[in-house]
Amino acid sequence: MGAQIRKELDWFVHDKLSVIILFALPLFLIIIIAAGDFTISDLSEEPVVYIIDEEKSVYSQAFIDTYKNSDMFNMEIHDSNSEPYLVTLENCSKLIAQSKIDAYLIIPSNFSENLINNRSTSLILILDANSKMSALVSNYFSSGSTLFQSQFQVFNSEIVFQPEMRPDEDFNFLIMVLPILLSLLLFVSSNLVASQCIVADDPLKRLLLSPARRGEIILSKSISYIFLGAFLSFISVLILRVIFKVIFASFLNTFLITFFSTIFGVLYGILFSSISKTRLQAAQLSLFFFVLQFTMGIFIRIDPIVNYLPYDIVRQIFIKVAFLGVSLSTLSPKLWEIFIHNVIVLILSVIFYKQKKFDV
């Protein structure tokens, strides 16, 4: 088995593109995302919002100016006081139906009268369900209203909460995305490389005829790729700590958690490779699993499936271990779950690989 592990490592080292994928790809992406503060460059779209002022008073204009004059609200605002021919109810209804504006707001004619008499005044906000920025616009108008009320000291049984953050500090972009980035990237890059390890094995026939058992072959491939995965995880965490000064509660524990990502990636890769008959199939399965995890981990999140996705398992425990400093012993039930999960994947690989004898 030792000889087989050496052979695997030797094959890997000679395949330059595999080395690039396993090491350069994740490191390149980590560095580019960590080094470039892309959120500051602010070259994203602004939602287009029309405001119809039915009152046209000093108060209603002040309310509009709360949004127009503040840097907090990144919106393109057109109001009926400045552009009376453009911002009409008829035009707003027409434009929003065609998704040409993201939202429109109607300030009623009794806006200031209600406020002055300590009554509640209703504003109507119409959002386009097709717009990806409807949630943002809704949040902007909620916080803008609070800002206006504070400025003019108008309250009427408001229920307000002030969020306090723990830790109470401004995170940089990297810290916010790190749990997703690391768990996804390390899984994907190790999975891609490992998914070709059986199906692309040139001396497959020889291996199958050699005294080594199928289980030993799978095990030796797993050990060699997991060894490479450990190296990748270590370098990733080291770069984050040394170059980007990310503070982890425990460097060793953080490394171990990221190492789980590469173990998952390798073992799933070997499973895909043992199932597939051609390289294309192995690559398709690898890609399918990436898209599945990406879709379910970020957009759909169907319970309980999402809790068994390798990416999400690692993401959740990464936050606890790397940032909150929870000890691994506290997480032992979860770690046992990960261990059993990986053993099942490994057993499945051996079963599928054993069935390959008919094809040789």
Partner: protein
């Protein structure tokens, strides 16, 4: 002596060239269809994702909003947040109801509905410790004076302490608490000085979930599956040597591979267009435009795939290039928010055309990046450039064979 045999067309004539390209295209389709399992995966892959999104989306943990009342979920929820709660309000003043108690009861109603998990009966220090250990995601303290302030039409305050490391849960905690506050306000008619009444238009009863989330990954499926297959075309071409020696020119071979690839991979485009429509997804543009968007994804992926296949020396290298291109684009798109930079990536451009033109109904060529360049033009230009480069690289490969 008179030649009585069949008159052969001039091999340099346009008709002969077109015939050769057509025959080579058929050959390419046949080769691609040979890997039956790969073709099955080509169909199963988009099919699974579309069905999973449609049926899984409605069964997802929580999407916020009250869909039964036609209220569109504005933000998707990612988790069921665990929230500790302390009622520290001893004030009075609102008739018969204990407002802080009623407020806590609404948290419990949300727990019963599966929207959050409540932890009660702990001190602030204990909750702070639990937050630090990751046992809870947030805790709420209903401050003293809550009921009194509301009864005199002032501001009822409460504190929310949130673990800020998990950006998914952070958003969910605020979303759940916003909904709880809205529920409480409705129950006691506390609408504040400014009551923002929100409603949505263009909301469709059927297929709304598909509309909301598909722009993020439908283009990915069309692009990725095609790219993966196309990176194998040149590099795994078994009769390559023979083909090089046939009268077919390199340009004709490249064109036939291009057309063959489009023909096979259009299966994905057909599934991605017609299945969501069959599931009731409403679009704001014609089916032809919908199809054209995904066909453009297939075309750009085919040309990029052909290029990387032409520069690859092994099939493994071809796959690796494909997967690197897909993953780099997807990861950068997930974390970077710069329209001009991202519009270089075909996957981003396709996503934007799909979202703006198909979902929002903006005319195809009016969907532009912040520099005003139509995304479709970018896609087509990139396709043409990739095809030209493929031809150049493939032509130079002669010396290798």
């Amino acid at each position: 002596m008179q030649n009585t045999g069949p008159i052969r067309a001039d091999p340099k004539s346009i008709g002969a060239k077109l015939r050769r390209i057509l025959m080579l295209t058929f050959k390419e389709i046949e080769i691609l269809m040979n890997d039956k399992m790969a073709v099955v995966l080509l169909v199963i892959f988009p099919l699974t994702i579309v069905l999973l999104t449609n049926f899984g989306g409605s069964a997802a943990i929580n999407t916020g909003g009250d869909e039964a009342n036609g209220d569109m979920p504005l933000e998707l929820r990612f988790s069921i947040p665990i929230i500790g709660i302390i009622d520290a309000d001893n004030s009075e003043g609102f008739g018969n109801a204990d407002l802080s108690h009623e407020f806590v009861e609404i948290f419990k109603e949300f727990e019963t509905n599966g929207e959050c998990i409540i932890k009660e009966g702990y001190s602030r220090n204990e909750l702070e410790e639990m937050l630090g250990n990751g046992e809870i995601n947030a805790y709420v303290i209903v401050d003293d004076g809550f009921e009194y302030n509301l009864s005199i039409h002032m501001v009822g305050m409460f504190t929310v302490v949130i673990n800020s490391y998990d950006s998914f849960v952070l958003q969910d905690v605020i979303g759940v608490i916003d909904d709880i506050v809205a529920n409480f306000q409705d129950k006691f008619d506390f609408h504040g000085a400014i009551n923002l009444k929100t409603s949505t238009v263009n909301f469709s009863e059927k297929g709304q979930y598909l509309k909301q989330v598909t722009p993020f990954f439908f283009p990915l499926i069309g692009f990725a599956m095609t790219l993966l297959i196309e990176t194998q075309t040149f590099v795994s071409d078994i009769p390559k040597d023979r083909m090089i020696l046939t009268p077919a020119k390199k340009g004709e071979i490249v064109l036939s591979k291009f057309f063959g690839g489009i023909a096979v991979n259009s299966v994905v485009a057909v599934i991605l267009v017609f299945l969501p429509l069959a599931l009731g997804m409403e679009i704001q543009n014609s089916i032809l435009i919908f199809f054209l968007v995904f066909e453009s994804a297939v075309i750009i992926a085919t040309t990029i795939g052909l290029f990387f296949s032409s520069i690859s020396n092994t099939t493994l290298a071809g796959f690796q290039y494909a997967l690197v291109i897909i993953i780099v684009q997807e990861i950068l798109m997930l974390f970077i928010n710069n329209n001009i930079f991202l519009s270089i990536f075909p996957l981003y451009s396709i996503q934007e055309i799909y979202r703006l033109s198909v979902i929002q109904g903006i005319p195809l060529f009016s969907t532009t990046n912040l520099l005003g360049i139509p995304y479709m033009l970018i896609i087509w230009a990139e396709s043409a450039i990739s095809l030209i480069f493929t031809y150049i690289v493939y032509k130079k490969k002669r010396s290798v064979i």
